[in-house]
């Protein structure tokens, strides 16, 4: 062995250990600073309010992230219209898997886009990274659906430019119901819906007329739609859990009754089982967000044209006839280079007639208009001036008017807490246990409250 090449084994090990230790200490020093105390409240409370550009001819480049798919194409087509108003702003429009990329991008602060399309339920979770849009939105806030402002607000700041309002509607198979002698238009409350389902089942033995969602995630989303009608949600504006309430007992009790009486088809949203039951006439009532309109239009080939939509039933006479289910907004990260220019893009898209007409009106992607949501901005959501046309899958129904009128009834809400999706493991799963007969509504509330409090709220 050559003396100069290799050291003595013990020396070698010691040197390696020392090197590793040094390396470990050096490397672990990289990254966020660690404190042992609570964060500075004053610092945490400081807000960053975005201001619109002061110049008359703003110029620069912006990067906008959207999900790939039809909506991307719709937004992409609006860029030319935007550039007619703002010719010096270049828009780099990118189709991105936002759920996979946004978190890491915001944490690392590398190549941060100027604007991002984001689910409302995720806005609160990223609020620390986002501009407060209170000042730029001020001229419009009075005309935006209260639920959309509330869902984007946290600690007095508004973190998203509201995009769409997704009112819950009751979709029903009018042809099948008429054949069975059931008049769905008479349904005004959830008790009426139960009664109509019983009548239908009597006329069509073996049917299970009302949809019960089997996906834990979508089941929880639907539960929030029902609760939203009663003006509540899983957490209040301070992030405090408020599941243990009469409103949730009422909703869960009703769902339990549907299940116990065998009036529900339990299936995942538009899974083969779900589609089969919808096409066969076994499932004729579908309380869901407006985006279910896509199904009779494209997926339910056998019953397309048989379906109609009406506002959701109310929980009590005179109660709100809709609640929001889902929805998205545009957020502007603080680390984006030209967030103020991105605001101009979204302002054009949502609050200028040329913009919102290009999104919801007839376009190359949707020749009849975008009928899976309505604008959150009330001047755009005018019942007298429909942006999208009658929906053939709904027998040529004027869905615009139905949805806009339902949307007007959605009560204000609260921001979805950062732990909302984590709650699916508890609340969403326990609702499924209730459908399996393993839990009562009270047990769902009690168990979910305890688990969410311990595992999610207390660990924020």
């Amino acid at each position: 062995m050559h003396k100069g090449v290799l050291m003595h084994p013990k020396k070698n090990t010691a040197a390696a250990a020392a090197g590793a230790l040094t390396l470990a200490i050096t490397l672990t020093a990289c990254g966020p600073s660690i404190t042992s105390g609570a964060p500075d409240d004053a610092e945490a409370a400081s807000v960053d309010r975005l201001q619109a550009p002061a110049t008359e001819s703003p110029r620069g480049e912006i990067t906008i992230w959207d999900r790939s798919g039809d909506l991307f194409n719709v937004f992409d087509a609006v860029i030319d219209d935007f550039n007619e108003v703002y010719p010096d702003i270049t828009v780099h429009h990118e189709a991105v898997d936002i759920d996979a990329k946004l978190q890491n991008t915001l944490i690392t602060g590398t190549d941060v886009p100027d604007g991002v399309f984001l689910d409302d339920a995720k806005v609160a979770g990223f609020s620390e990274y986002l501009w407060d849009l209170s000042d730029v939105l001020a001229p419009y806030t009075d005309d935006i659906a209260p639920q959309k402002i509330d869902v984007n607000s946290l600690d007095g700041a508004i973190h998203g430019v509201p995009f769409d309002l997704d009112p819950g509607l009751l979709f029903y198979n009018e042809t099948a119901l008429t054949d069975a002698g059931v008049d769905a238009t008479q349904i005004e409350t959830y008790d009426d819906l139960l009664e109509a389902a019983r009548e239908y089942q009597e006329a069509v033995p073996g049917s299970a007329p009302i949809h019960l969602e089997q996906s834990a995630f979508l089941g929880q989303l639907q539960l929030e739609m029902y609760a939203g009608q009663l003006g509540t949600s899983i957490a209040d504006e301070n992030g405090e859990l408020r599941l243990d309430s009469d409103e949730y007992r009422q909703v869960l009790g009703w769902l339990d009754t549907v299940n116990q009486e065998g009036l529900g088809t339990r299936a995942e949203y538009l899974s083969p089982s779900d589609v089969g039951a919808l096409e066969s006439g076994d499932q004729v009532f579908y309380p869901w967000a407006i985006w279910f309109s896509f199904a009779p239009e494209q997926q339910l080939t056998e019953t397309s044209g048989d379906w109609r939509a009406m506002p959701l039933p109310a929980w009590e006479d005179g109660g709100a006839r809709s609640g929001a289910m889902g929805g998205s907004s545009f957020v502007l990260p603080k680390d984006g280079e030209n967030a103020d220019l991105a605001w101009l893009f979204y302002e054009f898209l949502m609050f200028h007639e040329d913009g919102y007409r290009a999104v919801w009106g007839e376009n190359d992607t949707y020749p009849n208009g975008l009928a899976t949501s309505i604008p959150a901005y009330s001047p755009a959501a005018d019942p007298a001036n429909p942006l999208f046309g009658p929906v053939q899958g709904l027998g040529g129904q004027d869905l615009w008017t139905t949805a806009v009128e339902a949307g007007e009834q959605i009560p204000g809400g609260a921001p979805a807490p950062a732990w909302w999706t984590g709650a699916v493991d508890y609340l969403g799963t326990n609702v499924q246990r209730m459908y399996d007969g393993d839990m009562t509504p009270d047990e769902v509330i009690e168990q979910s409250t305890a688990d969410i409090q311990t595992n999610l709220v207390d660990r924020q």
Binding site: V5, T28, T421
Partner: protein, 311 residues
């Protein structure tokens, strides 16, 4: 004087084996040179493996959520996980999936590999490729097929059962069947890869060993038991370790097919870890990662120890 006849070093040219001094020697000590040669690898390894690992370890003792200063919480994240029902549930789910997958896969792959190694089989190349096709098919596409084929009311599998007079089974919607259905997907997807690994092991066995055994009257089964298995034991054990890692890190399959349901019965250790990360709880996610590392390393060491004992 001819240049070719010159005995001295050729300046700037290739040196002979003897009598030549390396050009680098004047400024590079010889004992440093080996380290310099491995430096590119070490640099990449440190940047992309060591640093992320140490960073994660550090994170696991904080409550960091991606921004601002991280607050030191000591062992809190570990204590929380070790007392958390869902963490243990996810490990239990992975352990059960391991039992459903790895032993079956090892036996099945070995038998297929032995058959494909037989020179008398026609279209061997075709079969080898055919077994590998599921492995290279995008998982999301396969998963969607699984969802349709195993649908409770309209799936082909229940259709076949109905023809035989058997009732529908909730393959993906009941806790009793969701795990086996997921295990079947994993088996179908990855067995071809293990077959290829075992084939390479089988091909290293000298044919004369089998010829000698045949002359001595050993049956095919005896040859498999007494020659094939002992001689590919290391390859088998490698496959077991590889699949143990894969099963405990399994993420995409349950994510796409069952989303961890029903009742979290298919929430694997890998999927549970991901759930912490997606809700921004990076500290708990990091602690979960390290606990998973401990479990997987422990299992791998057991298998390695078993292998050495056999040796």
């Amino acid at each position: 004087m001819s240049v070719l006849a010159s005995p001295g070093p050729v300046q700037g040219g290739v040196r002979g084996r003897t009598g030549a001094r390396p050009l680098l020697r004047p400024w590079l000590p010889r004992k440093v040179a080996p380290y310099l040669f491995v430096l590119p690898f070490i640099a990449l390894f440190v940047a992309f493996s060591v640093y992320p690992m140490l960073f994660t370890l550090r994170l696991s003792f904080t409550d960091w959520r991606g921004s601002g200063a991280a607050q030191w919480v000591g062992w809190d994240n570990y204590a929380y996980l070790l007392g958390n029902e869902m963490f243990w549930g996810s490990l239990g789910n992975s352990a059960l999936l391991w039992l459903m997958i790895v032993p079956v896969q090892v036996v099945l792959s070995l038998l297929i590999a032995v058959l494909l190694n037989n020179a008398k089989i026609r279209m061997r190349s075709f079969y080898r490729i055919a077994f590998l096709v599921p492995f290279v098919t995008p998982l999301v596409a396969v998963a969607q097929i699984w969802v349709v084929v195993f649908d409770q009311n309209y799936g082909a599998v229940n259709g076949l059962l109905n023809i035989l007079g058997l009732p529908d089974v909730g393959w993906l919607t009941t806790t009793a069947f969701a795990k086996p259905t997921l295990a079947l997907l994993f088996l179908w997807k990855t067995t071809g890869f293990i077959v290829i690994i075992l084939l390479s092991g089988l091909q290293s066995i000298d044919a004369s060993v089998y010829e000698a055994a045949a002359i001595d009257g050993a049956s095919r089964a005896r040859q498999l038991r007494s020659i094939t298995v002992p001689l590919v034991r290391r390859t088998l054990m490698f496959s077991v370790v590889l699949q143990t890692l894969a099963v405990f890190q399994m993420f995409a399959e349950p994510f796409v097919v069952t989303d961890g349901g029903p009742y979290n019965s298919t929430t694997t250790a890998g999927l549970h870890l991901y759930e912490h990360i997606t809700r921004g709880d990076l500290g708990t996610g990091a602690a979960n990662s390290f606990l998973l590392v401990v479990v997987v390393m422990g299992l791998s060491l057991v298998f390695v120890r078993l292998l050495r004992t056999e040796d």
